[in-house]
């Protein structure tokens, strides 16, 4: 059946030219959708299919021993709600996010301010500062493990110079030091990422506005909050969002340093999911966990985006 589209034969007759024009306009309007359709399809396949598949698997009962693909309802979701280790790992993840994120932001911003001036050797320093970002996180974790080594690691040695006696801190074992150790490694690696983005944003702030404010007697804080911050806000918000998502799936550095220990005290949601899914093959349970995390993240991000007003 012909839908009466843009064929001249169908539109001929009374009012034909007007109809032809309208059809042509509609085709023009739809053309852009046809152009982006393949890309959207690919994104849906790549992005949405795994999510839907995860949801389906989470309602089955695939384990190491059983490949039971019958529908089990929300069995795993109910179990997750009662799984203390899941909630603890979520809490640990949250701790890493709320401590590391502001630290990276503040240090990144401070460094960006420092390098805003055209200092001699600036480009070399910037390039050196960016090195941690291009290091593989698992390599960074392994390197920090060596640095924290209580026998051969330089960190205890340097602390010992200040203390005047050997410092036997077990950074990767002692519950008092495992969080600082992980956070130091994480902040070291990703502060340069913040620094780079914020340096770019700061470089684009209109200097004439700042100079005008200074002439009017505005201090640093007032200038920063009224002029600089609004100017760099869109970039900063995106940087914070990217890092928050990265931190939420924190795995490598912790795996290299503590493997989630002592006990499960530094186990993040990613580590718990890895252990359950890929070492113990609790496939459906892990899928339920993954889907729940997706939901939590989706809701959180939506709320944050609205709050940040960067989705407009």
């Amino acid at each position: 059946m012909n839908s009466g589209g843009a064929t001249g034969e169908t539109v001929a007759g009374p009012g034909g030219p007007a109809l032809l024009t309208r059809a042509s306009q509609a085709a023009d309007r739809n053309f852009k959708y046809w152009m982006i359709f393949p890309a959207v399809l690919v994104i849906l396949l790549i992005g949405l299919f795994p999510v839907i598949y995860t949801l389906i698997v989470s309602t089955q009962n695939l384990t190491m021993m059983d490949e039971d693909t019958t529908f089990h309802g929300l069995m795993h979701y109910r179990a997750l709600l009662e799984d203390a280790r899941f909630w603890e790992s979520l809490l640990h993840t949250f701790i890493f996010v709320v401590v590391a994120l502001p630290a990276e932001l503040i240090f990144g911003l401070a460094m960006a301010y420092l390098f805003l001036e055209r200092l001699p050797g600036r480009q070399i320093f910037v390039a050196l500062l960016v090195l941690p970002v291009i290091t593989s996180p698992i390599i960074a974790g392994a390197t920090w493990r060596l640095l924290f080594d209580n026998r051969f690691g330089p960190i205890n040695q340097i602390l010992g110079w200040f203390a005047g006696e050997p410092v036997p801190i077990l950074w990767t074992v002692d519950p008092n030091f495992v969080y600082p150790a992980i956070l130091i490694a994480e902040i070291w690696q990703w502060t340069p990422f913040m620094f780079l983005l914020l340096l770019a944003a700061l470089s684009n702030v209109d200097q004439s506005q700042i100079e005008a404010a200074e002439l009017d007697g505005a201090g640093f804080w007032r200038t920063f909050t009224r002029i600089v911050l609004p100017a760099i806000w869109p970039v900063m918000a995106i940087a914070v969002l990217i890092r928050a998502l990265d931190l939420f799936r924190l795995f490598d550095v912790i795996w290299a340093l503590t493997r989630g220990g002592p006990g499960t005290s530094t186990e993040t949601i990613s580590i718990y999911a890895y252990v359950l899914g890929f070492q113990q093959f609790e496939t459906s349970y892990t899928s339920a966990m993954a889907f729940l995390v997706i939901v939590i993240l989706a809701v959180s991000i939506t709320l944050i985006l609205r709050r940040m007003e960067i989705d407009r």
Binding site: T172, S265, Q279
Partner: protein, 481 residues
């Protein structure tokens, strides 16, 4: 076995050994495999092997030799040991048939068999006449690490066993011996045979020498500590489960004693020993910083300087203790048969006969004797002919003593726990050890670990797990006699 049968068997064994029959038979299995495999010339088989040093064996030695003899190319798929189980199971689930032959840790075998990932090897063993030669594998490996539910799923191929290494010069030092006698009123035991003696000797050495060297050190890091706990817990008389109720019993007084003893020992061991793994412990012993340690067999070879000139072993510190090291069973006399490897065939292989013939050839007495002598590889003696090899005994001056210790371990060694989803239980133990080093109370740690074990058992099903546990516990080397 009655006396008559024993005498007959012993006579037959002695006669066979005297006339070199095992060697003749051994040569046959390798030859049979090569001849039968020639029909598959021009094909390629893949084998999963632990990445790193382990895989230098098939890459540099056995793979090329097999290809030369049969025309079958061997593709070595290197996988880190921590990911081998996952990869094997994932490929099986996906049904890719990417792997033909496999290296599997024997304690994984029941899980892999239940998942259908391993091929039953019995028909192949009969078809290619390997049964007699298979039986010449040291009993502890043959009787414990080869079968699941009475069927052969893997050929034990690595005599992994914990051995105690001790400095003969330090334990024999008259000053230390005199101090020991003065303190404890008895002669210093060389080597210590109980954990009490070990503690006394080790702490005294540290006291007398001021830590140069320390009395001993171990790898305490959780992954290795898991094996050491399993050994020592059972040597103390502990049982993992109540065989009737399947309630975990690792929180028994024996378990708590082990953890308390560990904490006490750390005080006279090097600072930070809690974080030591394989390499840290090795470096300390080879450098002469510790007088005693317990580890896998390569420590003994490297301490003697055997193979450490090889480029592949350039990372191993040069031994400063060569010629000074004695070998013995760890205190308690029941070493852990920690990890080890068995050779299996993937049930998804598209070339099962060729894969089988390759592992028969690798595992044969003739070829395996060459493989366990490769200076860079990590396969340890596991066959009667390895322990008796005159060739091996000449590799370094103390090699006969070394082989004797390994052979003794191959009699009294203790199996790794191997039930349904063993890793879930071992994960609990690993976490328990890391909590111990974090300062938690041993009783609390083990109570909570036992509770987590019970949860796992409940989830798997008590009856199902009980049957698996009983099958494991009935093996000759599950618990000390």
């Amino acid at each position: 076995m009655d006396r008559r049968k024993f005498v007959l068997s012993a006579s037959a064994l002695a006669g066979a050994s005297a006339f070199g029959l095992p060697r003749l038979a051994n040569a046959q299995a390798a030859k049979t495999a090569v001849e039968a495999a020639k029909q598959f010339a021009g094909t390629e088989i893949s084998i999963v092997w632990e990445a790193g040093l382990q895989s230098l064996d098939p890459l540099n030695f056995s793979g090329p030799l097999w290809e030369k003899g049969t025309g079958i190319k061997v593709k070595v798929i290197e996988v880190p040991v921590a990911e081998m189980f996952t990869k094997i199971l994932q490929e099986h689930r996906a049904g890719t048939g990417a792997y033909d032959a496999l290296n599997v840790i024997p304690s994984w075998m029941p899980d892999l068999v239940r998942a259908g990932a391993l091929e039953d090897l019995d028909p192949y063993v009969d078809k290619y006449g390997y049964r007699d030669e298979l039986n010449a594998i040291a009993p502890v490996y043959r009787d414990n690490q080869m079968t699941v539910d009475g069927k052969i799923y893997g050929f034990p191929d690595d005599g992994d066993v914990f051995i105690m290494y001790y400095r003969k010069d330090i334990l024999g030092d008259p000053k230390i011996q005199a101090a020991y006698k003065e303190k404890y009123g008895t002669d210093l035991p060389v080597p210590p045979k109980t954990w009490l003696e070990f503690d006394q000797v080790g702490s005294l050495i540290t006291e007398v020498t001021g830590g140069k060297p320390y009395g001993a050190a171990f790898f305490r890091e959780q992954a290795y500590g898991n094996f050491m706990f399993q050994e020592r817990f059972r040597a103390e008389g502990g049982k993992f489960f109540d065989a009737d109720t399947m309630k975990a019993t690792i929180n028994s007084p024996e378990g708590v004693k082990v953890l308390n003893d560990w904490v006490a020992e750390n005080k006279w061991m090097p600072a930070g020993v809690e974080t030591w793994g394989f390499v840290e412990n090795l470096a300390a012993f080879l450098n002469g910083d510790t007088a005693m340690t317990v580890s896998w067999p390569p420590y003994g070879r490297w301490a003697a300087g055997y193979g450490t000139d090889e480029e592949a072993l350039s990372w191993v510190p040069k031994s400063k203790v060569a010629g000074k090291v004695g070998y013995a069973l760890p205190p308690g006399g029941h070493p852990q048969l920690a990890a080890g490897f068995a050779l299996s065939v993937s049930s998804d292989s598209k070339n099962k006969d060729a894969a089988y013939l390759f592992i028969q050839w690798l595992n044969s007495a003739e070829i395996s004797l060459e493989r366990v002598q490769l200076p860079y590889a990590l396969r340890d003696p596991f066959r009667d002919n390895h322990f008796a090899s005159e060739e091996y005994k000449k590799l370094w001056p103390e090699a006969p003593e070394y082989l004797a210790a390994l052979q003794a371990g191959a009699v009294s060694g203790l199996l790794d726990l191997s039930i349904i989803q063993t890793d879930r239980y071992e994960e609990g133990l690993r976490q328990a050890i890391s909590r111990l080093w974090g300062g938690d109370d041993p009783q609390t740690i083990l109570d909570e670990t036992a509770a987590s074990w019970d949860q796992v058992t409940d989830k798997i099903g008590i009856d199902k797990q009980k049957a698996a546990y009983q099958a494991w516990a009935s093996k000759p080397n599950a618990y000390p006699k």
